[in-house]
Amino acid sequence: MSTPAVAVCVDGLAKSFGTIRALDSVSLTVGNGEIYGLLGPNGAGKTTLIRSLVGLVTPDAGTVTVLDRRLPDRAILADIGYMPQSPALYADLTVDENVRFFAAVHGLERHAAAQSTADALELVDLSPRRHSVVATLSGGMRQRVSLACALVHRPHLLLLDEPTVGVDPQLRAELWQRFTTMAAEGTTIIVSSHVMDEAERCGRLGLVRFGRMLAEGTSAELRRLAGVERLEDAFLVLSEGTS
């Protein structure tokens, strides 16, 4: 498909679960090939926002447009990779079987699925463990299998909900290297995190709290806006005005 200039456009998105307001009129535009970081404390609404981008949350108000298609649109999901916060895998299948399954589910035929699976496992550095049953893997390894499942079909848009939880610093650095390469090749990545050193690696950041988008910009812009040196402090300063 032809790549649109804007990968994601969220406009006035609102969602409540009972009395809890998870998203309160959130708007967001992410350009093609950008790495966009969603920053915020637990319960800020990051996960709900990411889930709305794959149609898993039906908004109360507002619109979501992904890769030029207004959601809900099942067909466009073939071009999105979604990695949930907890590694959702079939624990009784091997690493290879899991990744292959998600390749097939996203429409890859047998041969292409096998090739993409090998590539994805290479990317997350799990090729030697590809025949291990997932239940026997450590938490960090499962996280990497989950990532492989999300990107095996080479999506144009990759949504990663806290992808590096439980991953050791060395591999985390490697993964971010890969993310940067993928973005350079045209993949748009939206990643949520509350780890500040990861946030520094994002092109742009959105500070989310109480279901609202408090501030947006590059790390440097946000630090300047708050008048502080460290991004962590910027986050605290910028959150204060609204709490």
Binding site: F17, G55, L56, T58, P72, A75, S86, Y90, V105, H106
Partner: protein, 371 residues
Amino acid sequence: MNGRRAGAISLRILHQFRHDRRTLMLLFGVPIILLGLFYFLTGGGSSLPAVDVVNLDQGPLGAVLATDLGQSTEISVTRTTAAQAASDLSNDAVAAYVVLPPDLSARARNSDVITPTVHLEGTQPALTQPVLLALDQSVTRASRSLATAEGVRVPVLEPSLDYLHGGPGLDTLDYFGGAFIGLVVFFLVFVVTIIAFLRERSQGTLERLMASPLGRADIVLGYIGGFMVVAAVQAVEVVVFTLYALHVHNQGDVALIILLTLLMTLVAVNLAILLSMFATTEFQAVQFIPLTIVPQALLSGIIFPVSTEPGWLQVVSRLLPLTYGVDGLRDVMLKGDGLASGPLLLDIVVVVAFAVALIAAATATLRRSAS
């Protein structure tokens, strides 16, 4: 041992129950439902087996006997002609009909052996006993009441039994074998599917599938495909074992038995997917098992014939897919019915309809979004 620490566990368990209302409802509700069912099935308010009586007796005993049978607490009697009775029996309208022969009074007067003929449908052993019991009681009462006036003494009752299907050569296993094939297969496939689908939900992979281009129908059909492969092997295994290792009597086409068994598993798979929507934990799913399986086992006519249930309960039985599966399996195995038989065809059509309706319902309840 430490009372406070053990107490902490007890208290925690009670807190967990407090948070899991559905489990509590099942825990307190299911026994009442099941025991209530037992009450109604084993006599409390149940319907009596319908029996036609044809009186050909030229003497007085036949009429008195027929009247006495009419007041029996074991069976519900209609007096009719031999032709009508035979037709009622073959239409399943009655469980049996009794013909009181022309020489009944004459034989009774001579204190001879009387031999009314009891024509039994034959596929439901539970219906035979009440008929014979009622006849025995009525013969005693009727002949006593005529003892002084007519010189009748209590004769020896030796009814000759005539079976429309089956017969004295069939044992308990033969009667229940077919029905149990349906129950066993249904039960196992249901349990395996509901747990598998719930695991899909709880481990988060269902959400992942929902975030993929898969449609809801794709997921349901995929599940059907996967489970039906295993279910087909299981069906063949169960049928072959039942017929050739246990030598359960079969009068019909083995292919039809396998077809019915497979249809039951199709219903079970989809019922499980549908019900898994209403369970949030595997714990709750496990509790759907007694709630779905036990009432169906009781109400599907395997042990207690549907025709002797109280009227309202018969309606419930008619709403359960297993009732038709069991009926169909009995039609094939005990009556030797083929696809040309109306009742068997109806059973098959109803089971297919259940399967289709459940596939649609399972697909419809599979929501893309969490809310």
